[in-house]
Symmetry: C2
Subunit: 206 residues, 2 copies
DNA sequence: CTAGAATTTGAACGATGGTTCAAATTCTGA
DNA sequence: TCAGAATTTGAACCATCGTTCAAATTCTAG
């Protein structure tokens, strides 16, 4: 997890710390919404500031710049998804069921009404130096999912296939939902999550 | 198909026309490579010019600007994919086999060594006014694929499911391959195409 | 060969967007 | 209450990028 430094609060009072922390979180949420709405490249600092009801300059009091904001946004979502993947591993359910759970959580992390975020799909938007660690984390997640797929195949619960490629196909299908999903559409995000997971795992059941 | 106007050649000699046409095609190929390598937003006109071994200004002699270049790039790939989809419809093979053929062609259109292009995945990068027609064309393609999926279900060749959602899942999985595929990787683009198509259609076979 | 048209160049322009910063305002502890 | 620290503002700075254009060069018809 990217360490949250003390930027923007040299004050030590717990009261002030909490307020600073809250401001920072507010900014991140606002940024995540703009990133999701317009894409990272098209999201301007002025727009992020407006979304958070703040002046543009203040963003630089709480963060070093757009890159850092993006980094936190991506990190948060990836951590969330990693947690879901690790939770699934600890579960006694069958491999197909655990795989479905991970995929559902993945979709919800992106499309969820309140905290859905998609910035982590644009790791290349990070500058060199920040990118590597994020890619590593994303890869860790991918490996987690792939391990689940491979385990299912080994146990005979899933049909044999190229686990790496199938994993990428699954993740691609769910990631792409961020492009077409509309909150005001016919399907709720939970339904999308359920149907996608069912279809994708079905492609491997015997 | 977007009409190729006579921009950049008021000359009427067939000889000159052909040369102009060739220059234009060269520019489009160079642009497609840069778009694919860096993404549309990060691809600069100067970089496109350099990729084509030309000066930046000349691009504006052959095209009205970046938007038009992008438009042609997207249009070409979409037309290519549409042609493949329509060809599949005219084929006597089973629905699952036709679906696999379309998906394979789709992957090849993006990852093919020579002409693979991914700019059409970024329709939102087009300005209002150009975007609508491209979205319509993309949707036409999606409908074509969906029709195939629906037909297979109706005929009993494929398991019943939400055809629209499954189609999007399939297209997402193949589109995403543009993000992770590396020409110097373990798998050739044709192998990726084959395996993806197999897995995705398998998710619907009974 | 030569005049006029077509093509090409590259410097400069203007808009955009990330960022900085001096000054103003608000907050906190004593 | 008040001084000093923390926070906030918004105008200005600067780099980047799409684009323009006057001038230079190349091509072609007669």
């Amino acid at each position: 997890m990217v360490q949250i430094l003390n930027r923007g609060s040299t004050r030590t009072s717990p009261r002030a710390q909490r307020k600073t922390e809250a401001r920072r979180a507010e900014i991140l949420r606002a940024a995540a919404r703009v990133f999701r709405r317009k894409g990272v490249a098209a999201a301007g600092m002025r727009e992020i500031a407006e979304e958070a009801d703040l002046s543009p300059g203040i963003l630089y009091y709480y963060f070093s710049g757009k890159d850092e904001i993006l980094q936190y946004c991506q990190d948060r979502t990836l951590e969330h998804m990693l947690a879901a993947a690790e939770a699934a591993r600890a579960t006694p359910a069958s491999t197909p069921e655990r795989l479905r759970a991970v995929l559902r959580a993945h979709v919800q992390a992106m499309l969820g009404e309140l905290e859905g975020a998609t910035a982590h799909l644009e790791v290349e938007a990070l500058p060199e130096g920040m990118r590597e660690a994020m890619i590593a984390k994303r890869d860790r997640y991918e490996h987690e999912v792939r391990a689940l797929v491979a385990e299912g195949m080994k146990r005979g619960e899933l049909a044999k296939a190229d686990a790496a490629l199938v994993t990428r196909a699954m993740l691609g299908a769910v990631n792409w939902s961020a492009r077409w999903f509309r909150p005001d559409g016919k399907l709720r995000s939970a339904e999308v999550a359920q149907s996608l997971a069912d279809y994708l795992v079905r492609g491997l059941t015997k």
